[in-house]
Structure formats: C-alpha cells, structure tokens
C-alpha cells in the first residue's frame, strides 16, 4: 500500500510540475521521462532477472524505427506507429532472447552487444529506407494523436508522462507479482529455482520480451515526441546509458531508472554549463557514487530506510 502510494505520488508530482516548471526544465523533464521509460525496461531484465545486456539499443532502436518508418513510408499516425514500434521491438527481443539466453554471464553480454552492433550496421546499410547516418525528421502526420499535436510542449510533456506512468506501473505490478519474485530468485540462484520446478529459461525469455517491449515503447515514444529518428540511437552508447541510469538510480528498484536518468541528465546539463570537459565531471560523480552508494541511490534508500521498497 505504501509502495503504491509512493509511486503514484511521484506520478502526481510530475503532473503538478507540468503546471509550474519553466519552459526549459519542462522540456528536459519530458525527455527524462521518455528515457526513464527506457531505463524501466532495462531494469526489468538487469535489475530483477540479473541479466546484463549490452545490446538494449537494439530494442530502443527497433521501437524507434518501427514507429518512424511506419510514419515515413506507411503513412500511419502516432497511435498506430507507436503500436507497431512496440510490437517490432518485442519481436526482435523474442528472437534475440532465443539465441542469447543459451549463454550466461559474459557470453550473454557479448551476444547482445554483437547483435545490437549488427542492428546498427543494418540501419546504416539500408540507408535508402532508414536515412542511414543522418536519419530522418518525422513528418508532422506521425506526431498527431487524433487531433492532438504531440509536438507542442504541453501535449508532449503529458504524453511523456502517460508513457512513463504506464511503464512504471507495469513494472511495479510485474515485480510485485509472483512473476517478479521468480525473477529475483533467478537472479539470486537460478539452479535452485529450477529445482523448485520453475522453467527458468521460459521465465527469462518472457522477461527479455517484456524488457524489449518497454524499451521499444520508449524508442517509439522518443521518435514521435521529439520528431527525429536517427542511427545514433542504435549505437553502443545507447546500450550503456540505461545501464548507467539503472546502476546510479538503484538496480532492482522500481524508481531507480527514473532517479538515475534524472540525475545523469542534469549532471551533464549542469556540468556542460561550467566546462567543455563535462563528461569528466560526470565521470567523477559516477565514481563517487559507486564508491559511497554501490547499490545506487534508491538501493541506498532501501538499505537504510525502507527494506521493503519494491
């Protein structure tokens, strides 16, 4: 009950901020919410099931290109394109999971990294369709949800909030359900879970498909709300970012991805206002946090204040 109140409270707070934030931060927060949705997807697999993927950019990009290409070449509106993006990402995750889950540990990291790289190169290779390196700007038709123009700041913020709310609450429900308990148990000791009669391979497969679908939803949302589809979102950097957000915010906590994404976004934002070596400041902050709060921010909250934090 308290847990639900906390998460709904955060969403209510984000809604309230919509009315009071100055334009600059209003825009930033919309972006952070979409990125945090991506982090929520990543966290499901890494934080709960304990599977470290280095290829989630593939799912983010699958959602982004699935939605973007349907607008560009298929003439769909925002709603239809979004659904296609999610389905494509889930499909890509389902296929990759069949292969990648045959490996564990470092093998899993390498297989996911390689397939994401292959996806990135495929986007560059089929440049006539994908726009290659430069990507493409989404036509205005693809940014219309019925008669609502999602490219206006107000609609964009509220759409980002809606996307994040759904991802967050789905994640909360999943990890509190028996399914989530089994994921945590797999993270702790997979062999023991197997010997309790669970098909751990099937469970991990479902987790990876859900993780891919949520990541794809974030990718599709990003394309529609910010109007740009580009190959840079399929690069390795976009596989590392959600890992950093989740580690900073607290792996295996529902709120961790949001806190991590918010923290890192503003860290880089503030640092770049001070110096051109802003990544250096970001790096130092990461090291400090890793030293003093190895469980991440929400992980530390769980350890010190609230052990039952989901």
């Amino acid at each position: 009950m308290r847990a639900l109140a906390l998460h709904l409270g955060l969403l209510a707070g984000l809604l309230a901020l919509h009315f009071v934030l100055p334009a600059y931060h209003h825009g930033n927060l919309a972006r952070v919410m979409v990125l945090a949705s991506y982090g929520v997807g990543y966290n499901l697999l890494f934080g709960y099931a304990g599977l470290l993927s280095l290829g989630h950019a593939l799912f983010f990009a699958a959602g982004m290109y699935g939605a973007g290409l349907m607008v560009q070449h298929g003439g769909l509106g925002a709603a239809g394109a979004f659904v296609v993006g999610v389905v494509v990402a889930a499909g890509v995750a389902a296929a990759l999971a069949l292969l990648a889950l045959r490996t564990v540990g470092v093998g899993f990291m390498i297989v996911t990294l390689m397939f994401a790289q292959a996806g990135y190169l495929a986007i560059l290779h089929f440049s006539e369709i994908t726009g290659g390196d430069e990507g493409f700007v989404l036509p205005q038709a693809g940014r219309m949800l019925g008669s609502v123009d999602l490219s206006t700041p107000d609609a964009r913020y509220l759409a980002a909030l809606a996307l994040f709310s759904v991802c967050l609450l789905v994640s909360l429900a999943l990890v509190r359900a028996p399914f989530g308990r089994v994921l945590v148990a797999i993270r702790e000791n997979e062999e023991r879970v197997r010997m309790l009669g669970y098909d751990t391979q099937a469970t991990k497969w479902v987790a990876m498909v859900l993780s891919g679908a949520i990541s794809g939803a974030a990718g599709a949302g990003y394309a529609i709300l910010f109007g740009y589809v580009g190959a840079s979102f399929a690069e390795a950097q976009y596989s590392i970012l959600p890992l950093l957000w989740v580690l900073l915010g607290g792996a295996g906590t529902v709120l961790g991805p949001f806190i991590g994404a918010l923290f890192m976004f503003y860290l880089i934002d503030l640092a770049s206002g001070v110096t051109s070596a802003h990544m250096l400041i970001a790096g130092v902050a990461l090291v400090v946090l890793t030293l003093f709060a190895p469980q991440g921010i929400m992980g530390e909250v769980r350890r010190r204040l609230w052990r039952g934090l989901p």
Partner: protein, 242 residues
Amino acid sequence: MTALLQLRGLGRDFAGLRAVDAVDLDLAKGEVRALIGPNGAGKTTLVGMIAGRIAPSRGRVIFEGRDITRLPAHRRMRLGMAYTFQITSVFAGLSVAENVALAARRRVRGAALAEAVAAALGRVGLGDRAGQVAGDLAYGHQRLLEIAMGIAQRPRLLILDEPTQGLAEGEIEGFARLVRDLAGEVTILLIEHNMDVVMALAERITVMEAGRVLAEGTPAEIHANRAVQAAYLGGAGDAAAG
C-alpha cells in the same frame, strides 16, 4: 506397482571417468532410504541424474511408472520430486517466508499459499522467523529452511543431499525427529555421511562404492555385511562420521 522410483542401468561418465557405472535401484512408496558410500562413490552424481541436474550417459529413470529419463529438472520437480542441496542454497536476499512461498507457489496460490508457507515453517520450527531475511539466519536454521522449502513443494519423493552436514548435535536430533515425522507421508532418499543418523532413520540402506551398488539391505544387514565394513565402515567411515 508399488515402486515409486526405479533406476535401470543408470550411469554417467565424465571425460572417460566412470562416475556411476550401471545402477539398478528400486525405491518403494513411503520408505526412507539412505544412500551411503565413501567420498567419490558417485552418490551425488546418482541423485543428480534422478533429479535431472545431470544427464545420464546410459540407463533409465522411471518415476511412478513413467520414463522420465529425458525430462528436464523442472518438469521432474513438478511431477512430485523435491531436492535439497548439499550446499545451503536458500535465497539469501529474500525473506524466510518468501523462500518457502517460491517453493509452494508451483502448487497453490492466494490464501492457501500463506497457509502452506506457515505450515511448512511451523513443521521445521521456523514459524517465528518468517519475516527475517534468509541470509541473516544461523547456518542450522538455513538448513531447516531448505527442508521447509522441500516440504512446501509437497513432493512424493524428497531427496535430501547431506542434510546434517555442518549441524550441531542438538540440531541433528531435531532433524532426525523431523524426518521421522515426514516418513510415511513422503518417500525420502537421504544421502548422509553421519552413520548414527543413517542407522536411526533409514528403513533400507544402499551402499555405493566406485560408481556401483556394493550392497543393499536393512540397517542390521548392512551393519553385518563384511564387504561394506571393509569398503566403508572400516576406513573412510570413521573419518566421515568423526
């Protein structure tokens, strides 16, 4: 058919080494069977093949008349087996109750789940520790939690791999009472080094040596068996029991 479990010519090689040769074994419904033998005799490999953790090189495993040789471990557990690990492997980061709930959830959900968890914990005497984090429990209590998880699965065959290892005297007595209490409702296959425990609990004993079954019989028969004495009770037995 009264046999719950039948092994026929079951064997396993590891890189040319014959860990288990060709074991035939019949386990009757409701019996408490001890599996003993010196270290390296192939006991853990044999139960690993029964539980599905290790694929056999030859032979068959038949559970309740059904050939399960090719079934993966989780399917065997669902058919009515439970396996407790030699090395304590509870979920250290989860609560005691959640550990047992994970074991019980394959069978029951909802209100019945809480009952099943409470019943299993009460059975092993951990009822007042349900809310504790499993990793914070004392070693002996973690072993009991393992057994509570086995009970919560409500198996027809419970495989206990060296359950008294590392337990204190008083804890071993408590464990023996628990097994006697369970005998009759569930068939138990017990791998055990502590000969006092084996002699006190087992209805029949199977002795393994070098991957083969050396002898099988009641505790009295095994006690009187010269081959067993020579191979096991004489030399390695003292060391293992001590």
